[in-house]
Symmetry: C2
Subunit: 306 residues, 2 copies
């Protein structure tokens, strides 16, 4: 049994209404690994340049993140993204994107990763995500795909092909509308469930997340927070908590996916409290249990249906 | 024990992307009465003109809505509102407002209403709402106030005075921000809870509702719907379900208020399926139980906190 994560490892420079970060470690793969490794060992597939800090790699290794699948291109530079969030924290402007090593990333699945049962495809070009699926000799028990509107704009054909090969798609509400061409989220979900995935997670940011499967719907709230300090990586962290819980419990029933969504939401609620991965690095098992309990309190009610 | 409802009874003419209604019966008080009378008898305080249909009054009487407190001004006209919803159904333009009998409405509390234990103040001028509280010889067990941004714009002083006399305030997210002057809903809630109400319900439309009390928060989702046909009266219906459940069960604990919010959400989800009060008129006890069960399914999850 193993969880394989594919995703970018990067540098980010972030501006929010609360302040400005230095050039800090980021990337979808990094957030997913920091989060999922709370629940289960991780086998990581990614690419970095020679400028990527060795201590970051060592920290991940110490958390049971196997980096055999991470290519280190000594003479090249790590992917760099810089962005500025607007006052409402729901929208942002990209200031800089330097693809660097990510520009011609060809993931290689090490032989020791062939026992993959759970595959998390973090946000990357659909063709790159597909190449990982194609390198696996056995079909994983569960393939979860994260993607974004950018790929719908520039690589919709690749994405549609990829969708037929995954079990769970994780996108946000506007991406669901774009992918389906329908404004109603309920109708969008029905359409998307005919495009390949058997499960669809629609993230609505501060408004929570929905899980769709056949005719069933589950709703998970986001924790109401006084302040979102930095939303960067919240979606990746959500995905990391979701797949981390599923890989740990080895149970891919709809019931357990509901719990996995709560776990993802709890982890994401921690992520946004500080810049970058900072808050994720501090978390203890007790912190996680405490926040999960807050979610139970938040939505629990008794009803007498007589 | 009795539930007293104060609110407008009106004519509405509604345009949505799906069509146009005739001049139909509407008004906050009407929606609240149709909804709450599913759970408990209602004593209604309102005013209508001679043009208000007798069969509407008869239908309400048949549902155990006591109309002794409804003034009928034979030679005047009923309040009329006409509006057009935008494509997203979240915003609307008012086309016509004719206050008519509502312009100088002076509610009179009949002697037989003095047993009021639960008081629902539907959206009206704060001074009018206040006059009802002042006419009651005994303070009700629970006073619930619905209001709107319009009164914050034109009668904030009256509203602030009124707030010190109510137990539960029901407003939407933008109204909470306006009342508190704070963008963060969590901080808004904390501020508003110092202004009088001990309980605050913040409605977020399709994104559900939050209940705040001391340091506790409860979140209720809205039922994901394929289509919202007509949102008119959804907020009033929510309030009617909320107070109807509380008055029926006579239990004003935080735990029971959570259930009351689910009941309000379930009733509102029916309201929006057809024009005006049409859908509310058709509902059976079985319909209500079925929808409550959908809410249980929607949010229920198991978590093992070990």
């Amino acid at each position: 049994m193993s969880l394989v994560v594919v995703g970018s490892m990067a540098f980010d420079a972030i501006e929010t209404p609360f302040g400005k970060s230095d050039k800090i470690v980021g990337g979808a793969g990094t957030y997913i690994a920091w989060c999922a490794s709370n629940f289960t060992p991780v086998k990581q597939i990614s690419v970095v340049g020679g400028d990527f800090p060795q201590e970051e790699l060592d920290s991940l290794t110490a958390r049971n993140v196997n980096l055999e699948g991470v290519q280190i291109k000594k003479n090249e530079k790590t992917f760099f993204w810089s962005g500025r969030y607007h006052l409402d924290m729901n929208s942002r402007d990209t200031l800089v994107t330097e693809l660097n090593v990510l520009g011609d990333f060809k993931p290689e699945v090490p032989e020791s990763f062939q026992d993959c049962e759970f595959l998390m495809l973090g946000n990357l070009a659909p063709a790159v995500q597909l190449s990982v699926i194609e390198q696996l000799k056995n079909r994983p028990k569960l393939v979860v795909l994260d993607t974004m509107n950018f790929w719908m704009d520039v690589a919709m054909d690749d994405l549609k092909k990829l969708l037929t090969k995954v079990d769970v798609l994780v996108i946000n509400d506007s991406e669901a509308r774009q992918l389906s061409g329908d404004y109603s989220l309920m109708r969008s979900a029905k359409k998307i469930l005919t495009m390949g995935p058997k499960y669809l997670v629609i993230k609505k940011g501060e408004h929570g997340a929905l899980l769709f499967h056949n005719n069933k719907v589950f709703f998970a709230p986001a924790l109401p927070l006084d302040e979102v300090f930095d939303p960067t990586g919240a979606g990746d962290t959500f995905a990391g908590g979701f797949i981390g819980h599923l890989a740990k419990t080895k149970d891919i029933s709809f019931e357990n996916m509901k719990t996995a969504i709560i776990v993802g939401s709890a982890m994401a609620s921690y992520c946004v409290e500080k810049f970058g991965t900072e808050r994720l690095r501090e978390l203890t098992k007790e912190d996680i249990a405490e926040r999960l309990n807050e979610f139970v309190q938040l939505v629990h009610f008794d009803i007498n249906l007589v």
